[in-house]
C-alpha cells in the first residue's frame, strides 16, 4: 500500500538501523552475511507477513515495500498505551486513506535485532487483516538486504555489507540484475518492459494486485477505452475508499532484464489515486510472488529469478 507523505515533521530516530543482536564472527570474503531467516506466511489474499515484536507484543506484520514508515495498528497502540503525536502534514495511503498519527514504541524487535525508542505511524484498523498488527516498511528494511523466497516461505535478512553483485546464492542458473531507484520515501522503482513498452514500475509487496492507470495505458499503448480487448471488471475499491472503474487487458509478457512473467494480471484503474500517479506501473504481490526477489537496498539493485529457481 503506497503512502506518500508530503512531509513528516516529527523526525525521531526510529528509522535508524536496528541495533544488531549478539556479535557474529566476521564473514569470509564475499560471503553473504545472513542475519536471519524468518517464517514468511502467505495470507489467504496472497500478502505476506513475518513476526515482529514491539514493546514486548509479538505479532505478524505485513511486509510492505510500498509504504513509507512502518505502522502499528491503532488498537494495539492504544492497548500498549503508547504516547502519540499528530503529523503536521498527514500522509496518504493508496486509495486516499489519511495517516494522521504516529506512536512512540519503547522497543522494536525484528529478525533477531532490537531497536530502542522508535516512531511508527498509526494504521487505521480497517487497513489491516484479521490478526496482522503492523506493517514493516522501507524505513526499517532499507538498511538491509531483504530476500523474498516466496516458494520456500522465507524472508531472509542479510547485512548490506557484502561484495557488490555477489548475492544470488539460491541458484547457479541465470538471474536478472535490475537497477533500482529509491525515492525520498523509500519506494523502489525499477525498469520493466510490458509487451515491448519500456516503463518504470513501483515494487509494492503491500499491494494485493498489480495496477496501472487507464491514462498511462492509453498513452503508452495507444489503445482507447472502447477497445474490444479491454474487459470491464466493474468497480473496485482499495482501502475501502470510493470505488473506481477497473479493466483488464490481455498483456502477454512482463520482462525484468530477461526474467519474464507470462500473461501478467494487471488491473487498469480509471482513478489515478489508486494506480500510478508518478510511475507507469505498480507491481503488487500477485506478480512479485512469481519471482524470487532479493532487494539490495544499499547496493541499488534487485536480483530476480523465477520463484522456484534452485
Amino acid at each position: 500500500m503506497r503512502q506518500a507523505f508530503a512531509a513528516i515533521a516529527f523526525a525521531l530516530s526510529a528509522q535508524a538501523a536496528l541495533a544488531e543482536g549478539p556479535a557474529q564472527p566476521p564473514p569470509a570474503p564475499c560471503q553473504l552475511p545472513r542475519i536471519a531467516s524468518l517464517d514468511m506466511q502467505t495470507e489467504p489474499n496472497g500478502l505476506v507477513t513475518v513476526p515482529v515484536t514491539v514493546a514486548g507484543r509479538a505479532g505478524r506484520w505485513l511486509v510492505d515495500t510500498g509504504n513509507v514508515t512502518s505502522m502499528i495498528s491503532d488498537t494495539v497502540a492504544t492497548q500498549l498505551n503508547l504516547s502519540r503525536g499528530m503529523y503536521y502534514a498527514p500522509g496518504t495511503m493508496m486509495g486516499g486513506v489519511s495517516i494522521n498519527e504516529f506512536a512512540i514504541v519503547p522497543s522494536l524487535e525484528f529478525a533477531g535485532m532490537r531497536a530502542g525508542k522508535s516512531q511508527l505511524s498509526v494504521a487505521p484498523e480497517f487497513v489491516l487483516e484479521n490478526d496482522t498488527i503492523g506493517m514493516l516498511a522501507p524505513d526499517i528494511m532499507q538498511h538491509y538486504d531483504i530476500d523474498f523466497d516466496f516458494a520456500a516461505g522465507r524472508l531472509n535478512v542479510f547485512s548490506a555489507s557484502h561484495c557488490p553483485g555477489k548475492v544470488v546464492y539460491w541458484t547457479k542458473g541465470n538471474y536478472a540484475q535490475v537497477p533500482m531507484k529509491l525515492d525520498s520515501d523509500g519506494h523502489i522503482t525499477i525498469p520493466v518492459t510490458l509487451d515491448g513498452k519500456a516503463m518504470t514500475a513501483v515494487v509494492d509487496t503491500g499491494a494485493q494486485g498489480s495496477t496501472m492507470s487507464m491514462a498511462t495505458f492509453e498513452s503508452l499503448f495507444r489503445i482507447g477505452g472502447k477497445d474490444a480487448a479491454l474487459k470491464p471488471l466493474g468497480n473496485v475499491s482499495v482501502n475501502e475508499t470510493k470505488p473506481t472503474a477497473a479493466y483488464r487487458y490481455p498483456f502477454a509478457t512482463l520482462s525484468f532484464e530477461g526474467v519474464q512473467v507470462i500473461s501478467p494480471n494487471i488491473v487498469l484503474l480509471k482513478d489515478t489515486r489508486m494506480g500510478d500517479d508518478d510511475t507507469g506501473l505498480l507491481l503488487g504481490i500477485e506478480t512479485l510472488r512469481q519471482l524470487h526477489m532479493y532487494i539490495a537496498y544499499q547496493e541499488g539493485n534487485i536480483y530476480l529469478t523465477p520463484a522456484e529457481a534452485r
Binding site: E43, P44, N45, T75, D131, G209, E308
Partner: protein, 366 residues
C-alpha cells in the same frame, strides 16, 4: 533467458490458486489448490494455506461439508492459525452448530485476546441465539480490552436493545454518538431505540443527522420513509423514498414501502410494474413484490419460505406477516390481514421495522 517454468509445479499451482481466489474465480482456485495439495513437493508451510483458501472457496460455493473438511485439516496442520478458526467458526455458525462455532471463536480469543474479532464473533453468535447476557459479557470484555474505539459500546447498545433494555441501550448509543459524531452507527442504533419506544420524532431527528452527512445512504433514506409512514405523513414518506428509485432500483423493500406510502396517501401506485423491473423476484423479498404485482399468491410466499435455508426462515416469516397482512387488508380480507399484522407486531424481532409498523397499523385500523 530464464522464464517461469512451463510445467505447473506445486508452488505455481498454489500461487495460481491465490490469484484466482482474489479474482473471485472460486472454481478455478479450487482446481489449482487441489492440484497443489496433490503434489508431494508442496512446502509444508504452504499446505495449510492451500487448504484454507480451498476451504474458503468451497464455502463460497456452498460445498459446506468439503469446506469443513479443509478447515479441519488446515487446523490439524496449524492449530494456532487465526483465519482457520475464524472461518471454520463462521461456517459452523451458518450450519447452526453453535457450540462448535463458539469453541472456535473462543480459540480466537485465546490466541489473540488483544484483538476485537473473537469477542465480536462470539457476541454475534450469542445474539443469534438470543443469549443476550452472554453476548453482553463478550462486549463488556471487548470494551475493557479495547481502546477508545466505539465498537464495543455500539455492539453492547445493540445487545441491550435486542434484550429490551432500552435505557441501558440508549446510554451506550449516546456514548457512541459522542465518540464518533460523524459516524452513522450510533445514530442508527439510537434511531432504532427511539422507534421501539414510539418516540418517532426523535428517531426522525437522528435519521436526518445521518442523511446530512450521507444523503445517499439507502438504508437510512428508506428508514426515513418508514418512520414518516409510521407517523402518518404519507406524502412526505413518498417524497423521502422517491430518490431511491435511482439509488436502489433493485431493492425490493424500498419498492414495497413506496407502494405502501403511496396507496396510504390515496395515490394509486400505477407504475409498480415499471418500478420493480430491476427487482429479482426469485430472491427474497422478491416473492412479496411479485404478490403485490399480482403474480403470486400468499400460499406461494409460504412455499418459498418453507424451501428457504433454515436460518433465514424466521426473518422471512416476520416480514411476510407484515407485508402479506397489509396486502390482505388492502384486498378486503381484514380478519386474515389483522391476524398477520398481530403476528408481525408480536413475533418480529425488536430491530425489525415491520414490528413497530405492524403495531402502528393495527392501532390505525382500529
Amino acid at each position: 533467458m530464464p522464464a517461469l517454468p512451463a510445467q505447473a509445479s506445486a508452488y505455481s499451482e498454489f500461487d495460481a490458486g491465490i490469484a484466482a481466489r482474489n479474482l473471485g474465480l472460486c472454481d478455478i482456485a479450487i482446481a489449482h489448490m487441489t492440484a497443489a495439495l496433490g503434489a508431494p513437493d508442496l512446502l509444508a508451510s504452504l499446505r495449510s494455506g492451500a487448504l484454507l483458501v480451498r476451504g474458503d472457496c468451497l464455502r463460497q460455493t456452498d460445498k459446506n461439508a468439503a469446506a469443513l473438511a479443509d478447515f479441519d485439516a488446515a487446523i490439524a496442520l496449524s492449530p494456532d492459525n487465526f483465519d482457520s478458526h475464524l472461518w471454520r467458526g463462521e461456517l459452523l455458525e451458518h450450519l447452526a452448530r453453535y457450540d462448535d462455532a463458539a469453541a472456535d471463536f473462543s480459540t480466537l480469543i485465546r490466541l489473540r485476546p488483544d484483538l476485537s474479532k473473537g469477542y465480536v464473533s462470539l457476541g454475534e453468535l450469542y445474539l443469534a441465539q438470543k443469549k443476550y447476557d452472554e453476548a453482553l459479557a463478550q462486549y463488556a470484555t471487548l470494551i475493557d480490552v479495547g481502546s477508545d474505539d466505539y465498537l464495543g459500546y455500539l455492539l453492547r447498545a445493540k445487545a441491550y436493545f435486542l434484550k429490551g433494555a432500552y435505557e441501558l441501550a440508549m446510554v451506550d448509543a449516546d456514548r457512541v454518538v459522542k465518540m464518533a459524531p460523524r459516524a452513522s452507527p450510533g445514530h442508527f442504533v439510537r434511531e432504532a431505540i427511539y422507534e421501539a419506544q414510539g418516540k418517532l420524532a426523535l428517531a426522525l431527528s437522528d435519521i436526518n443527522l445521518v442523511l446530512e452527512d450521507t444523503p445517499d445512504d439507502v438504508e437510512m433514506r428508506r428508514q426515513k420513509g418508514i418512520i414518516l409512514w409510521e407517523m402518518g405523513q404519507f406524502s412526505e414518506a413518498t417524497d423521502a423514498l422517491i430518490p431511491l428509485k435511482k439509488l436502489a432500483a433493485a431493492d425490493g423493500y424500498t419498492i414495497l414501502w413506496f407502494d405502501l406510502a403511496r396507496v396510504a396517501d390515496d395515490e394509486p401506485d400505477r407504475d409498480l410494474e415499471s418500478r420493480s423491473a430491476a427487482v429479482n423476484l426469485t430472491k427474497w423479498p422478491g416473492p412479496i413484490v411479485a404478490l403485490y404485482l399480482g403474480r403470486e399468491t400468499p400460499d406461494d410466499i409460504q412455499s418459498f419460505i418453507a424451501a428457504a435455508p433454515f436460518d433465514e426462515r424466521d426473518d422471512m416469516r416476520c416480514q411476510a406477516a407484515f407485508f402479506v397482512g397489509e396486502w390482505q387488508v388492502r384486498h378486503h380480507a381484514k380478519p386474515v390481514g389483522y391476524a398477520l399484522l398481530r403476528q408481525a407486531a408480536s413475533d418480529c424481532p425488536v430491530d425489525y421495522a415491520e414490528r413497530g409498523a405492524a403495531a402502528i397499523e393495527l392501532s390505525r385500523l382500529r
